[in-house]
């Protein structure tokens, strides 16, 4: 800024650069915000357009507002399969995340609070499996399940969704940070069994952190596309991601384009609500992940 580094720069010069840097910094942030939001805005605007008006008029502004009809169309098309897809997504995500979080909490607790031989090896195996992403397991899993003839069932998607090595990793950190050894010791001295100690003492102490694990797992399952698209053939078993992509695929064979567009918009609403109301947990999970 100035050549003479020891001296404080004079006021006017300082203010000048301040304004310039404010404009540049906030201008760039604003541009990026536009890049992020324009596609979503387009999706919203398009979902409200009357059928036949998608290709006419300004793409980024409303014409022939007809959102209610579009929503009715989405929910009535093919015998209301869209609600089934939403329910399936909710089922897979909710059950998978709940079971996954509980199992991760137990495993993380064990890895953090008990010292036994092979503990670090177990943990390293779990950690290594975080480095291979879930989709990489999807193919071998499909091969195995096809062999056992259990593809195309709720279980073929639910069971793999209950496993979260990353959750175990996070839970180990959380257990170490939020469950004091002394408290467990005291509980044991008072005669509480291991099970009771875990469920009544450790789990409540970990619960704020477990929300984070649940959230990440929930969104991971809700957003998954490869696994359910491999496993499931029957539309009534599919989650909303797979279903909507199929509607998009049948675009050429008569499914009106507004259907996948409005459907996509509708399927995003619950996520957006959850996202905005639970955002502080996101940050917690990410910063914990960054410890690695």
């Amino acid at each position: 800024m100035s050549v003479i580094s020891a001296d404080r720069p004079t006021r006017p010069a300082r203010r000048g650069t301040d304004i310039a840097s404010k404009v540049v910094v906030n201008g760039m942030l604003g541009l990026m915000a536009l890049y992020t939001l324009i596609p979503l805005w387009w999706l919203f605007v398009s979902a409200t357009k009357g059928s036949g008006y998608l290709y006419t008029g300004t793409p980024l502004w409303f014409s022939h507002f007809d959102l209610v009809t579009n929503i009715e169309d989405v929910f009535s098309f093919e015998g209301g399969i869209f609600s089934t897809w939403l329910a399936n997504s909710a089922l897979y995500s909710f059950v998978g995340a709940t079971v996954g979080t509980l199992l991760s909490a137990m495993a993380g607790y064990a890895l953090s609070k008990f010292s036994f031989r092979g503990r670090e090896s177990v943990f390293n195996v779990v950690l290594a499996s975080v480095l291979i992403p879930a989709p990489m397991f999807a193919l071998p899993l499909f091969l195995l399940m096809a062999k056992l003839d259990i593809t195309n069932s709720y279980w073929s998607v639910l069971l793999p969704s209950c496993v979260s090595p990353f959750g175990v990793y996070l839970c180990r950190i959380f257990a170490a940070a939020s469950v004091p050894d002394e408290l467990l010791e005291a509980a044991r001295l008072d005669g509480a069994g291991e099970q009771r100690t875990f469920f009544r003492i450790a789990l409540p102490l970990m619960s704020p952190a477990l929300v984070t694990v649940f959230l990440f797992q929930f969104v991971g399952i809700w957003n998954n596309y490869l696994l359910p698209s491999l496993m499931l053939n029957t539309p009534s078993l599919q989650p909303v991601t797979v279903g909507l992509v199929q509607w998009r695929a049948q675009f050429a064979s008569g499914v009106p384009p507004l259907l996948p567009i409005t459907g996509a918009f509708l399927s995003l609403i619950p996520l957006l609500v959850a996202f905005i109301s639970l955002q502080r947990y996101w940050r917690k999970g990410l910063t914990a992940g960054a410890v690695k």
Partner: protein, 326 residues
């Protein structure tokens, strides 16, 4: 109730060597070893069972399958026999032009997209961290928003947004004399790169931003007193200090690129002519399974997992060594 977690959140992310995650603080043995091990394994068991059946067993099965081949006696419905095939499935995988081409394609895509995305994420994080930034919370939330959306839905949305007759972008661009079809074969890799960048920049930004926030204020102040401000402060002080976060985001991005499936697969199923149905390695393998070439598909997924592991571990080790020398 929230106090334990807030102490956690406040503790700075520090790089811990992968092999020795400590912090459990349970150094002293408090019960007899055998009983402890028994209790611990009871807590571990449910996860372990699912982990073994849903992750380890499939991998083992895929590795096993990749060494065998199914021979049919007749053309249809003849007796089948499984024979040991050695490395022939692997030879076939590497001999398959589509498969190797898809690997090269995805590697090239990653070489362009990952630096662009992480550069952008780093820039945004630094901008948000600078004193001039306003509306920090709003921006942070906005940038991170796409991460919460399913990749398939985002790809579906972009498949409309980039279509020539629908796109809000092609119109204004053609006014400027630029006529592009984002879904033509030459543009498709860039369009897919754009989808990934759109979806993941904010996620990476948040990781880097969190690391930036753990830099003690004194460090920046001391540098500022020495006349180091603005970009120089960012370059000489802040960026070196957030290197662990950059390493982490790079590894996640490498893994993400290697598993590229959703975006191109959605484009393919949307019947966009510009995209190769065997665009990415995973797409190759899944297509192969339908035709019945399960053994080849198994070999391909093993190859893919190995490449990913080598790349991400390699990057990690390279950085650890570089960090140790610096």
């Amino acid at each position: 109730m929230s106090s334990p977690s807030s102490t956690r959140a406040a503790s700075p992310p520090r790089p811990v060597p992968a092999g020795t995650p400590r912090g459990s603080a349970s150094g002293r043995p408090r019960r007899t070893g055998r009983r402890t091990a028994l209790t611990a394994s009871a807590f571990l068991a449910p996860f372990a069972v699912l982990f073994l059946t849903m992750m380890v067993a499939p991998i083992c099965y895929a590795i096993y399958q990749s060494f065998f081949t199914v021979r049919r006696a007749g053309l249809f419905g003849g007796a089948q026999s499984t024979e040991f095939a050695g490395l022939s499935n692997y030879a076939a995988a590497f001999g398959d032009h589509d498969f190797t081409a898809s690997i090269v394609r995805v590697v090239l895509l990653g070489c362009v997209q990952v630096p662009v995305m992480l550069g952008l994420a780093l820039l945004l994080a630094l901008l948000l961290d600078s004193r001039s930034a306003r509306l920090r919370k709003t921006y942070r939330l906005t940038f991170f928003l796409p991460y919460a959306l399913p990749g398939a839905i985002a790809a579906l949305m972009w498949s409309f947004l980039l279509a020539k007759d629908l796109s809000p972008f092609t119109g204004p661009l053609s006014h400027l004399g630029i006529d592009v079809d984002f879904l033509s074969p030459s543009w498709v890799p860039f369009s897919i790169g754009n989808m990934i960048t759109w979806g993941w920049t904010g996620y990476n930004m948040l990781i880097i931003y969190s690391a930036l926030q753990t830099i003690p204020a004194e460090v920046s102040e001391a540098a500022a007193l020495d006349g180091c401000t603005g970009w120089r402060l960012a370059w000489a002080v802040k960026i070196p200090l957030v290197r662990p976060a950059l390493v982490l985001t790079t590894i996640f991005s490498i893994i993400g690129t290697a598993q590229l499936y959703t975006e191109p697969a959605v484009l393919v199923s949307a019947r966009i002519p510009g995209i190769d149905p065997k665009f990415s390695p995973i797409m190759n393998a899944t297509l192969g399974m339908d035709v019945g070439g399960q053994n080849l598909a198994a070999a391909q997924s093993v190859v893919l997992a190995l490449i990913t592991l080598v790349l991400s571990f390699g990057f990690l080790k390279y950085n650890q060594r570089k960090g140790a020398m610096a």
